[in-house]
Symmetry: C2
Subunit: 310 residues, 2 copies
Amino acid sequence: MTSEQYSNLDLINLVDSFPSAATHPISHAERLGELSILAHNTRTLGYILPSVAAVLKDTKLSGTHWGFAGKVITLTGETAEERSENIRETAQSWRENGIFGILRGWRNELYTVYSPKGHEYFKLERSACPLFGVVHLTAYTTSPLKIWVPRRNPAKPTYGGLLDNTVAGGISSGMSVFETLVKESEEEASFPGSLIREKAKAVGHVSYFYQRMETAGGEEGLLQPEVQYVYDLEVGNDVIPKPCDDEVQDFHLMDVEQVRKAVSLVRGKYDIYIVLLDFFIRHGIITPENEPDYLEIGSRLHRLLEFPTW
Amino acid sequence: MTSEQYSNLDLINLVDSFPSAATHPISHAERLGELSILAHNTRTLGYILPSVAAVLKDTKLSGTHWGFAGKVITLTGETAEERSENIRETAQSWRENGIFGILRGWRNELYTVYSPKGHEYFKLERSACPLFGVVHLTAYTTSPLKIWVPRRNPAKPTYGGLLDNTVAGGISSGMSVFETLVKESEEEASFPGSLIREKAKAVGHVSYFYQRMETAGGEEGLLQPEVQYVYDLEVGNDVIPKPCDDEVQDFHLMDVEQVRKAVSLVRGKYDIYIVLLDFFIRHGIITPENEPDYLEIGSRLHRLLEFPTW
């Protein structure tokens, strides 16, 4: 990637970087051949890199907490609680021994991983999810026409000073999608809950399969299939977002051209622009006439993931 | 399928019925094992049923017009014109000999099939190539949100009397997406071109891989991967669609509940509801709270197809 300006498809390629079984069956099969599979019965819950599988087999806890059968790895435990405790002990011991750099970003926040039937299969510390390649859910808002774009706090260890989506946050275990949206809107933009409940409109989701780059922090190549629930929030001139927690430095009201330029020039946290690409398609800004890769972009923004959700 | 009322996911399953390589790798591999591949170099242009491949090998023209190497079938000809002529002669001879029922619906309308690089690879009579690119337009009025729904002419041989999308039409060879939209809007709903050019807004596409059912006419199981470019048209009370050609009997202004009920009860031309499901998701009518299969539906409405487009 030497060009100064990224096309929309370049951004998709950076973010939806795991090969597709439909369009690239050979690369997909080769990639899959290198990975171990975290499985329940015959269903895939996640993919595990060889480097992580090797550490897992070598962990003291592997005999009691994990099962190994060729490429297939299983987490032992009869109930969701037992499995959550087993994987927590494993991740905790890696953290204490400084084994994976990504665990230095430990959040004390649990994500839920679902069984093939959509029930809770186990809970897992958020920062450890890419080690097991399990799905991550995010709720977002975007404000039409002009877009309120926050600049991240320059003091943040990840992507300090870069632009971001208006509001976004991971869905913690036990929270619904909409509750998460209300909570994050208050925390990140000082939007009152009543505004979100009245005006935020569900408009679909985006999903993609990210192989983490070095700039994401932690080990390169960790697997991060992601789902983001997307909401539009149309606000008048009287509604102005204000930073509340320390995530955001300030908000800028940018027109579409300013945002598109920022998107195509950016270096770094590419995945934050995925929601904007979907916004541009839904609002007739990216069209079949001005975007030669319209169909591929629209489909890859909604990748069908092979992992269960609820 | 015994239930009287179809869920949204039931409708998706009826229409996006070819197994997915990502979520159902075993069924996908088995299905692929049965099929021949129409290919150019190493890229798949289409899949061919065993019943069609057998006829193709048996056709007098097979020696000059077609190449066979195991599962891989190629169309001979150095240029798009030569390939178009070779496939036209093949389809024409089948039509004359009454070999495939689906060719009784011959339209004298050409569709373009694209090369892996997005150039024209050949043109093919519409009825013979359930392949690519049909525009579907949904027109709706706001406050309250209502949708203009046409009832198809009961005298039509296919799906007579059933509800349909406001305006829809296949993209003929040489026509752009937007030109097709303008033309079909005039022909099917008497919408003036100026209204469409001013107000129709591109809002994305839907794509899926349909295995034709008996009710679709012609041979059962024929493979029909489809792409539909979707536009929203917001109109005031002064704009009323009127039938112009013989496709439509009359238009009804239906509220969302009436349309949803019609969708969930319908028998027959399921694919016309795909565009409405996407509309319901984009407009916050189907939400993560009221639709347990929200993610699967949203992803399968945008299936990444393994065939080239432009």
